[in-house]
């Protein structure tokens, strides 16, 4: 039994309010498919089926106070496999919001507070003027370092640009050298794009605190930023939940978005098919093996298998079909790595790593040298898992490999590559 810290929710009544009639808690078959595929099963004696059954048995006080809600990453694998399509994560999210702010995992709360502080909506507290300056500096540096890109631009607040590109705070805040590969891709395909000084940040931890108002506020600021610039397509970069939080937020809060929500992976695939990004796997003479982590937020929770197909299309073009090995299960049935739902920020490292063991084992079975993932949280967590469980693999972004394949990856843009790829594609006179 846990301490009473939160007001008691009537979960059965809430389930009736928040879930569709034919997929509410009353439809549960007790079959346990949800629990058997949930990496959070077993923590605090809980699993998705137990959560639901306890709700049906009226154990509202226990459910209102169980810390398990912070171990569940809201990945919705349970919903995906449920024969009745019951979404357990809705009430887990609701229960999160019901906890008093000072009892919630403070890392998530602080990240949300940082987002609320400046119009950047950045969880790492990067202010608009700082962002503009960092981008300018990084562009300048690129111009100096590689004369092939001396005319490359990273437009800021460009009215009427076709693409509005968001940006995970990690790069501007801590690894600015990782910014350029993406710009090089845009440059290569001749995309008409812009950053914005306001509402540019990708991440949204407010959503993970269960505070719907804060989630809405963040999405509003971002939607307004895109509307103001009159862009046609908002594109999330390689960050899984940034897509979900906006795409779902617009629907959930009934916001007016004068643009389409696009995802970068599908654009990569589109440009490759069109011949604008003539990537190939010729560089992979060592036969290095690659696998892909499907970000739950982008695949299962948002677009589904079409984007999983695009991920594989891009990956096999880049590394060679014979060098690509899928994890099992994968695509929409993929397991969450344990980096989602704010788990990385929650300060529950022991549980987070135990949760991720299932992902680590999946990766080990593929014997992959590299894990490709278009998600910053997956990236961090899977890297952590490798360190903790003493794996051998490395985790990389797609933009790194695209630029590598095209021979335009700079020397200082290789922090995630191993020694096996450190020199590949570097022209002799390159910086």
């Amino acid at each position: 039994m846990h301490d009473i810290i939160a007001p008691t929710i009537d979960f059965q009544a809430k389930a009736r309010d928040l879930l569709p009639d034919n997929a509410s808690y009353d439809s549960c078959l007790s079959c346990g498919l949800c629990s058997s595929g949930c990496p959070a099963s077993g923590f605090d004696g809980m699993d998705p089926r137990r959560f639901l059954r306890m709700a049906m048995l009226g154990m509202n006080e226990e459910l209102s106070n169980t810390p398990w809600i912070w171990t569940c990453t809201l990945c919705q694998r349970c919903t995906y496999v449920c024969p009745m399509s019951i979404d357990v994560s809705v009430l887990v999210g609701y229960a999160r919001g019901n906890w008093p702010k000072d009892k919630k995992p403070q890392g998530i709360v602080r990240s949300c507070e940082a987002q609320m502080r400046f119009p950047s909506t950045s969880a790492m507290g990067v202010m608009p003027e700082d962002f503009v300056e960092i981008i300018e500096d990084a562009v300048e540096e690129l111009h100096e370092e590689d004369d092939r890109f001396e005319t490359l631009e990273a437009p800021m607040d460009k009215q009427g640009a076709y693409f509005f590109i968001n940006q995970n705070s990690r790069e501007p805040a801590t690894e600015p050298e990782e910014l350029a590969p993406l710009w090089k891709v845009f440059d290569y395909v001749g995309a008409d794009w812009t950053y914005a000084s306001k509402g540019w940040a990708a991440e949204n931890f407010c959503m993970f605190t269960g505070d719907d108002e804060a989630w809405e506020e963040m999405v509003k600021q971002r939607v307004n930023a895109v509307n103001e610039l009159g862009c046609k397509v908002w594109v999330n970069t390689e960050c899984g939940h940034s897509f979900y939080t906006l795409w779902k937020g617009v629907e959930r809060f009934g916001l007016q978005a004068d643009f389409e929500a696009g995802n970068l992976i599908s654009y990569y695939a589109h440009w490759i098919r069109e011949g604008k990004l003539p990537v190939n796997s010729d560089w992979n003479t060592q036969g290095l093996k690659f696998t892909v982590q499907d970000p739950c937020q982008l695949v299962r929770k948002s677009i589904g298998d079409p984007v999983a197909d695009d991920l594989r299309y891009v990956a096999t073009k880049l590394v060679g079909a014979e060098n690509f090995i899928d994890m099992q299960p994968c695509r929409s049935a993929n397991y969450c790595c344990g980096g989602g739902g704010g788990f990385l920020q929650a300060g529950m490292n022991e549980q987070r790593l135990a949760y991720g063991k299932r992902k680590f084992d999946q990766i080990e079975v593929t014997q992959a040298d590299y894990v490709l993932t278009p998600c910053h949280n997956c990236h961090s967590q899977i890297t952590d898992l490798c360190d903790h469980f003493e794996g051998e693999y490395r985790v990389i972004h797609f933009w790194t490999l695209i630029c590598l394949s095209l021979g335009i990856l700079g020397k200082n843009e290789r922090r995630y590559l191993g020694p096996d790829l450190a020199e590949i594609g570097l022209s002799k006179d390159a910086p």
Binding site: S30, C31, R49, R53
Partner: protein
């Protein structure tokens, strides 16, 4: 037990043999034990196999009978108050309302308060708005409503508690699956009763000073077996349906002349809607039908419209044994709900008593009157103590309460204590406790006996998973050997299916398709040889 006699028949000796393990029989057992009397209770099946298990679990305020049967109504009030005091663990004092909706008899509704006052029943008039605030599921066509002191009662907890307490007090014994087949009478007194163990076929002889016939619907048959033709019963079959979730806060009664589908009672985490009343003349093969379910629902929806989209998980039936007075009306609902004690002295027997009729709510009073007579015959001067002595709620009898097992399990947070029943969250430790502590039930605990003493099989999956898991657990505990467990499992799920079948639509349909895939497709239970009928315990479980 006193060892086998020269013919190999097991012999038991007791002061009082009680036939029938329902609330009444076990109530008499505890009543007498509290007076220091040793009893032996037998049942042809197991506890609450008849009407005691096949009912609403409603502790009547008396309102239901206020308009038609003032005496029964008053008894309900008095007895209800006593049970609320002495057996609070078995009772949910949820309160109740009587509500009349458009189309119901306005005059009947108007006279209700006066009838309640005449019977001494507390009743408070509610405006339609107040009624719907108390019970949001109530129809918006309500025109008259009254709040009463109805409550929900767990008849399994009561019965198990009675047996447990009697065992503790006077070392009284309970033998399940033991059917009386012959009475030995010497000089106008029964000296022993010959019984048959329906599981093993073995004979059992019980030597006794007094015999109490509390066999409920079977009481007339037992009386005839003892040579008494004075007990005339009317059988009224009643069917109820169980929802997957609790629908109302308290009891909702239709304020009109009693009819089908007019009472909705919360049973912890579920609700029970009923009943029908159809006269029958045979006690074999009592099972709910689609027609009965349709009737209950059709009427119930008028009172609680949400019932139309409610998921029901099972139907079950019980048989009301009603006293047939000379020239009485044959309508089961109009027959008296009073009870009667037959001393059978005019039938030439001096130590045989039969009690019939009555209600769950008044079982204690029936037991008291019976106890008084039997004690007097035994020369025992102890007064009845059940009106003031609390019913102990021991470890092994607490598992029938909905929601108890999961709370217990969650509080203990022992991860090694595996959950066997996922719907009702019954852990392994509960099953082990029932096996270890359950007085008398049977040396050989079966899946069905465990289900009777817990919530196993009563959730939405209706045994789809727990039947296999508990059976496996019983193999692990060396209780089942060879094919026996699988056969018991087949019996168990077949029995549950009898009740599920008439409510098989909507959300219960995929549930049962899954059950079919598991039980037939995976385990091949349908290919297992015929059998199990002799283990048939009837509709013995009130979820």
């Amino acid at each position: 037990m006193n060892g086998p006699d020269p013919t190999g028949t097991k012999v038991f000796e007791t002061e009082v043999l009680i036939i029938g393990g329902g609330v009444t029989g076990t109530g008499v057992m505890r009543d007498l034990a509290l007076r220091g009397v040793n009893c032996l209770l037998i049942d042809q099946k197991d506890l609450n196999a008849g009407a005691s298990g096949g009912n609403h679990g409603l502790l009547h305020s008396g309102g239901r009978y206020a308009s038609t049967d003032e005496q029964t109504a008053a008894e309900c009030k008095t007895e209800g108050d006593i049970l609320k005091k002495t057996a609070p663990d078995c009772i949910d004092e949820c309160g109740g309302i009587f509500a009349a909706v458009e189309g119901d008899d306005i005059d009947f509704a108007a006279r209700f308060a006066d009838h309640c006052a005449a019977a001494g029943i507390a009743c408070r008039s509610l405006s339609p708005l107040e009624a719907r605030e108390l019970e949001p599921s109530l129809s918006d066509k309500v025109f008259a409503a009254f709040a009463v002191e109805d409550a929900a009662i767990d008849p399994f907890h009561i019965t198990l508690g009675n047996v447990s307490h009697a065992t503790l007090l006077t070392d009284s014994t309970y033998l399940p699956h033991t059917e009386a087949i012959d009475f030995e009478v010497v000089n106008g007194a029964i000296t022993s009763v010959l019984c048959r163990d329906s599981r093993t076929g073995e004979s059992v002889r019980i030597r006794t000073k007094q015999v109490v016939n509390a066999a409920g619907a079977w009481a007339m048959n037992v009386a005839k077996l003892a040579g008494c033709g004075d007990v005339a019963l009317l059988y009224a079959k009643g069917t109820l349906i169980i929802s997957n979730a609790r629908i109302s806060n308290g009891v909702i009664n239709r304020l009109r002349v009693p009819g089908d589908g007019d009472i909705l009672v919360p049973g912890g985490t579920v609700s029970l809607l009923g009943t029908t009343s159809d006269n029958i003349d045979k006690l074999d093969d009592i099972r709910p039908t689609v027609d009965e379910v349709d009737r209950i629902l059709h009427e119930g929806i008028g009172m609680v419209p949400g019932l139309e989209n409610t998921r029901f998980i099972r139907a079950f039936s019980g048989v009301r044994p009603l006293l047939q007075a000379v020239g009485a009306d044959v309508d089961g609902r109009k027959a008296s709900r009073g009870f009667r004690l037959f001393d059978h002295e005019d039938q030439g027997l001096s130590n045989f008593v039969t009690l019939v009729g009555g209600k769950l709510t008044t079982y204690r009073l029936m037991a008291e009157k019976t106890g008084d007579l039997v004690a007097r015959r035994l020369g025992n001067g102890e007064p009845c103590k059940t009106a003031t002595t609390a019913l102990p709620s021991g470890d092994a009898v607490r598992w029938t309460e909905p929601g108890f097992a999961p709370r217990y399990w969650y509080k203990r947070s022992d991860q090694s204590d595996a959950i066997l029943c996922e719907c009702e969250m019954v852990p392994q430790s509960a099953v082990d406790e029932i096996i270890a502590d359950e007085y008398g039930a049977s040396k050989h605990m079966s899946l069905r006996a465990i289900a009777l003493r817990s919530r196993i099989g009563k959730g939405s999956c209706q045994g789809s998973f727990c039947a296999a898991r508990v059976t496996s657990h019983l193999y692990d505990r060396d209780i089942y050997v060879c094919d026996e467990g699988r056969e018991h499992m087949k019996d168990f799920v077949s029995e549950r299916f009898k009740g599920v079948r008439p409510v098989l639509w909507g959300r219960q349909m995929p549930q049962m398709e899954l059950a079919e895939a598991l039980h037939c497709g995976l385990m091949g239970l349908d290919l297992l040889g015929e059998g199990g009928d002799e283990n048939d315990d009837g509709n013995a479980d009130l979820p």
